[in-house]
Amino acid sequence: MNQPIGRVARFLDSDLWWSFRTSPVAVASALVALVCILGAVLAPWLAPHNVLDLASVDLMDAFKPPFAEPGWPLGSDDQGRDVLSAIMFGGRTSLLVGICAVLFSTVVGVALGLVAGYLGGTADALLMRLADVQLTFPAFLVALLVDGIARAALPQEVHERIALGVVVFAIGISTWPQIARTVRGSTLVERNKEYVLAARVIGLGNMRIMATHVLPNVLGPVLVIATLNLGLAIITEATLSFLGVGVPPTQPSLGTLIRIGNDFLMSGEWWIAIFPGIALVAMVLSVNLLGDWLRDALNPRLR
């Protein structure tokens, strides 16, 4: 009954929470990240205008400068869309794709890393060789190539329907080797510990041992990498969308907004591109700072 309360109390008493409270950078970046996430998640209710609803957009409102009218705090773009609302809805797509891609790569990386580390032998050699090969290419290039190949290989109407999934897959698949290697390393250590031997002695299957006994003990470092990968995934998605090969135009992300705004940079309407750019950098920087803090907090040796 009082177990959840006990857990909260234990957390508030923990080293991690203390290290968080006493680090101004961590608290500040957590606040910024929270604002970004809330703004994105609550966009349909908080945003001044619904930019996805074409009926509410009026060309007469185009190119309003920022800080001029109360209904258009950050100005409006060439179509008359409110920039602030566009950022909130765009941040939604950016976060959604980023989080899904990180979840995907983490699940794949952890699963393959566990299998490679625990089973060893041919599976290990094969998987790690594959990871080595992929690691010689930059993650961004892998994501771009996977996305490009999917774009060329799928019929257009199929691609349009699953475009978001394709981007998630492309970004996710580009970062699995790093996670798999880390998990494999920790699994090799855990494999020979006594609790694993005991589980084997009582006749548990390999799958069961990996999933319920080894897994919880190798997840610590994964948390740090996943946080840092989130920043990377958001940047990668934004870059792909900026290049015009990312998310579909019907679901604009921050990268799409910057791509649109880039066309008006030379003619003086700087706010269309710069505000989404600032939002993107704020989001990524806060996530990266949190990741850095988490790495130092979970790894006392670095202090």
Partner: protein, 322 residues
Amino acid sequence: MVAFVISRLLQALPVLLAVALISFALFTFVGDPVAAMLSQDASAADRTALVHLLGLDQPWYVQFGKFVGNAVQGEFGLSYRLSRPVSTLIAERAPATLELAFCAAAMTLCIGVPLGIFTGIYKDSWVSRLLLTISLVGVSLPIFVLGMLLILVFAVNLGWLPSFGRGETVQIGWWSTGLLTASGLKALILPAITLAVFQLTLITRLVRAEMLEVLRTDYIKFARARGLTNRSINFGHALKNTLVPVITIAGLQLGGIIAFAIVTETVFQWPGMGFLFIQSVGAADIPVMAAYLLLIALVFVVINLAVDLLYYLVDPRLRAKR
């Protein structure tokens, strides 16, 4: 040494073959060249004849062999989008990309390594702290946002530098260079900075971390005890021992520069291979995509080989083992 190079090359071969297979699969399964080449009222016999002429009725491994044979000779057919030979297109664009990548790489190493050494040696000075904070922002700043900011400040507001293109180029044989004209050099500044900043921050942080690591070791303490000068300790003993990881990362960075050249070229409409590739992805121009894919794979294999060979030169322990 020779055996080492050969074993490395043999390891690289499967990678290249796998990439070639992907490119080949793109050609084979996407689009229908026969339908595109035949006229509307062609008969089934015409079709069979053309299929036979193109060799499409042969088993896939024969076709794949031909594809690889052609690829080795740089023959990828015509671009769907521009109707010109892919090899010509790439040869025209390669100098632009290579000049950009080379300048960015030079900038990265010439600024990043000294900054890393400085922040490593003077780790508690406020200059180092400031540099590290800036580098953290640099890591979080997407390359295209940086490019846009530079354009906004130096091209739109100040009007000092051009915002797109390569400026005037001079033709030397088949190589077109922008390094010999004033407008070419001016056009190079912003893209090169954009491309270099991200890699620069990474290399600074890496060199710093390695310097800190090495400066803690016993042989550095011993060198200090012997009364050697700081200069000789920092550069003669410490820096040399940071080189192995730095070379690995520098190799990876060269790869990163080539990958992110795609983004930089798009922001600055730089007429290089990356810009060509992005346009091809948008238009599903498969011959160009396939050629670029193979070329990139080749470049990365060469970079990795060069990194391995440099290890050999830098780390005597590796030489002794063989």
